[in-house]
Symmetry: D2
């Protein structure tokens, strides 16, 4: 049952970043939408192709400022603005718009936690109550009827998809979770910073934000809900020389007599009908290159040689399932379209 008689009219706030580019890549060939408004304050007045030459010739509207945007032209807005500024911008948007926010500004239900991790009081606490956390496979029913969806962070997506069902099943110890995550550079966005420069990233790897990365409370929010009590996890992100992809190698302690095979069983059952989550066969190692450009999440489960332990590995494309793809998936749900519409690309390898 389509909620929209015609094509859904789309606006994108902050279209000049990598998540913006990825939204455009996905939406230009999405059969159920029309792209009407693109904002990029510093590039207002320019054609999209001056910012993204690869998107030339697609008939996209020109970039405008937020003030210039005519929201009466839109049904749905994707928001790709930086953390911190988003709350105020979204608060000012007309209420007829459905909003998918790709920033962190509405991800933490607890505004005190937001203030602690982001260094300032929440600027739209009323809106926060309305916001739904957009990890589609886990919150599909709430997303469907929501107006404001907080699209999850890339790391939290890759961590929660494998972990939440296992914690819910009581098969792993929620207090003993180690998440070693490796990310491509696009996750850091298009903002200029030394740590994103080619010569600083290529031919190397390092951990960063150790024990203080802002995605930790987001992951813990999901795991705590699953466990029914406050949980703290180890989350250690690493920056490595690739454009796209997150691999999460998760080390868990088994509980209640569960074995690695039981974990695989739980995940396989939970995701059996999911179009975008695939539990790979025994012995198959999930690799980011096998999801590149797609909305897929691969999950593998491995026996550990250490007694009472198992290893769970997930792989996503941080710009697709970890950001823009999941946003489109949620938009499909919110607008009554088939959930997979516009997201049927096979991964691109090599």
């Amino acid at each position: 049952m389509a909620k929209f008689a015609n094509k859904v009219r789309i606006g994108i706030l902050g279209a000049s970043g990598y998540t913006g580019a990825e939204l455009l890549r996905l939406l230009v060939r999405h059969p159920g939408v029309e792209i009407r408004v693109l904002t990029a304050d510093r590039k207002a007045g320019a054609a999209v192709e001056t910012v993204f030459p690869h998107l030339a010739g697609l008939g996209l509207p020109p970039l405008v400022t937020i003030e210039q945007a005519d929201w009466s032209q839109c049904d749905v807005v994707f928001c790709g603005l930086p953390h911190g500024t988003t709350q105020e911008v979204v608060a000012k948007l007309p209420r007829h718009l459905k909003v998918l926010d790709l920033s962190a500004d509405f991800r933490l239900a607890d505004i005190a936690s937001y203030a602690e991790w982001y260094g300032h009081a929440h600027r739209a606490p009323e809106l926060q109550k309305e916001a739904v956390y957009g990890l589609t496979e886990l919150w599909r029913d709430r997303i469907k009827d929501s107006r404001l969806v907080a699209v999850p962070g890339c790391y939290p997506t890759a961590a929660q998809l494998p972990l939440v069902p296992l914690v819910e099943a009581g098969q792993i110890l929620a207090d003993d979770i180690v998440i070693d995550a490796k990310s491509g550079v696009s996750g850091a966005g298009r903002t200029l910073k030394e740590t994103s420069m080619f010569a600083e990233v290529s031919e190397g790897i390092n951990a960063y934000g150790i024990a203080k990365h802002r995605h930790a409370p987001e992951i813990e929010q999901g795991i705590s809900l699953a466990a029914g009590r406050p949980i703290v996890v180890n989350f250690t992100p690493h920056l490595m020389p690739m454009n796209r992809g997150i691999l999460s190698t998760i080390y868990v302690r088994l509980s209640n007599g569960a074995q690695a095979a039981d974990l695989r069983g739980t995940l396989a059952k939970r995701y059996a009908d999911e179009p975008f989550v695939r539990v790979v066969g025994e012995g198959v190692e999930p690799a980011t290159r096998h999801v590149r450009g797609s909305n897929l999440c691969l999950i593998g489960v491995f026996k550990d040689r250490v007694k009472g332990r198992a290893i769970v590995i997930s792989a996503i494309d941080n710009l697709v399932k970890g950001a823009s793809g999941q946003a489109v998936q949620n938009m499909n749900l919110m607008t009554g379209q088939p959930e997979t519409l516009g997201l049927d690309q096979a991964p691109m390898f090599p």
Copy 2:
């Protein structure tokens, strides 16, 4: 006017290489085809996902040997076998099949030239007469009605698209063409060789096959036809650390009073209605990352500081417009489908 009442049934010979993977990526979401037969001799009996884990879950048929293939199930065959063995294999295929050969075996119309460059006599000289050279934008009319298409090499595609119209227009000197081409590693195929190993390729660049690369006679065949006399060109390929893409920087000498702007005019006019060739604006530098994953060819023209010279640059994805994408484009023509069907992906950046 569709030539096929139902979906076109596809077979792929040699499906386990990179061009095979790329064909599958494009064809699995092509609305006008069904994939029926996949051969891969050394992997016969295995599922596609054992060879290409990124193509799991797409309902593809299992890999079989050439002998096991049931060609009555197919209307069209793509052939991704190595050079040399292809002629004999294609010669044995039933005549009801339309064939798109991605090897070099049918690209040189002159079988003496083939013998000279490939080191053995042509093994299917009768078929060669039937073969049509599949550079779509240049030979569309002949391709449409052909049964056997030799899909051009990646380098020759990137070189001929900009050069042929300029030579035909008499605006450049055909005898003074320098083609400096830079290619990603997938162009060398999936066959194991030291020069394709990560540690031998990354963090470096080198020219190879200097003045003796087998794509030289293929390029010269096209330029000679355009010039109406035998032409020899400088063609110098380079191997560089990227997966996909060819950038051809072409140095030409102007003739008949033409200026760089005239060259751009000729190309812009020639390709004005082409969906996959785009002459970029003045000052815009074609980049391989702007065509990644798409069937596009970008062409730019630049004034040279040296009097009487100009620089023409083309960029393609070697696996798409340089191989599998162009093959699909030709297949669409040969089967009466819209030429762009299944090829509407926007480039993937970053």
Copy 3:
């Protein structure tokens, strides 16, 4: 006290691999040695520069077969042959030679464990008794007087340097160690394999050999010795797109009331006078790019947000401290030369 009146005369068995190239890079400017014999069976008769063009012009001897090697010309032999064949080759070498073996063939003191992990009985059990494990900082005194040194594997070096002192100090629980290691591709050697090809490695990451990698028993041998009882550890290696480097992110459970700062203290004290091991300051993240080309091992210690846990990170260049550099370091000890001789290169960045 120099043991050699003149320069130490060096032979290298298996000089055509990456560890061979790295030995040559280090040894050609080592003031205390002369390179006399280089073997490479399949390349015998060729000049080194046909195998390694970057080593042209250095006056190196030609490649010969093992049979052709004149060992009377050598005092010390480095052995870079594949696992399995090395035991027999080393057993046949004249006893006047000091031997540094870079394969795994003499690393496991327990020949039953060797047989279990390497799939065949040890072929030189008598020699095994003589072999000394060459993790220099931990076994310096035994190495000094040894004739046969088993140079540690790259992963075991990166794991044991931080872990052994902590286990010995009783500050971490030896039974709850998770080692998540990320390696560059040169660690897989120069042998042709699909998983080492550029297009299979670049733009991606995956774990491999999960819970069954052959470096696990080697790490456990060292940890068990430190703990005084048999220990099993989690060791999960990952392959990532860089030429050189290993980063080990190690997750440990604190014991006996120790805090992260205590761990740093223990390591700082242990390695205070070591020229090649540096415990970095609080908050500094070890990165492989900061040791590239050098014999350094960086170690960082971080508080975990999970109570009772800490994170220890080490970074080495797998070809230097993880292989050829450590071999040279040991050779210096064995021949009475200053330990750092020939190993004073600053890291190369970018």
Copy 4:
């Protein structure tokens, strides 16, 4: 004959960029120098390792502002400041200092040409008369006795070393030279810019600065001197995903009956005794990975299939022979030390 009784005391202006890091890497183990002063205005007060963690532990002096620098402590200053600001800074330095400037500010002897290409009048025209162009192999005698050396640009080094002897010999047509150059990203420096970011560079290549790059007049200055008349060349730089290295593929037209072999002969003879320039054997393709980290320039000459043409290829490490290495080479000359001192590293591969 040493000009300095003791070690040469070194200062580096602008030590926090990539050429600064490379100077430090080379100088810390140079037996004839002591590093006394390091300036980095925005980082003044910090230890070098806060800017370059890979240079920790080497006993380097702290970073200071230019004003804080005590030049009485120095004999020689390397200047790694940006173009434009350098002239004024160098003009204010005490005259007892020998100066090696790595910027472009003193490279163009013709100050009108400088003004045209750099957009402002030369700010130290008197000093310009004193400046010597530091392409060591070509201007050794003048460099030896100079006080101020303009260290050549990376591209001009890679272009002039092969071209100047050929033009001088009259074996190629100076008016028909095409230089297609491919550079690693470190050549763009450490300054933040979008085009230097990992996600904008990796997996792609593009030409830039076409027919207007500032290294063109520098190359032409050298070729014009060799030809004895004003020459304009085609110079087309490309940016590609590697940290270090420049490969110049140079297309030349033969003159006076010369053949490719004659060109090789001329170059081989000219550089026979040069420690850092190597003319490779027939058929050997120069590759940047074979000079990585070294001060070498490799040159290869190839027959072209086009009659009357040849291909000359050079490879250097842009940060060594293309910048800091050549600066050290010149410093050695200027201070009466052996020219190769501190520059004997073998290339690092892989």
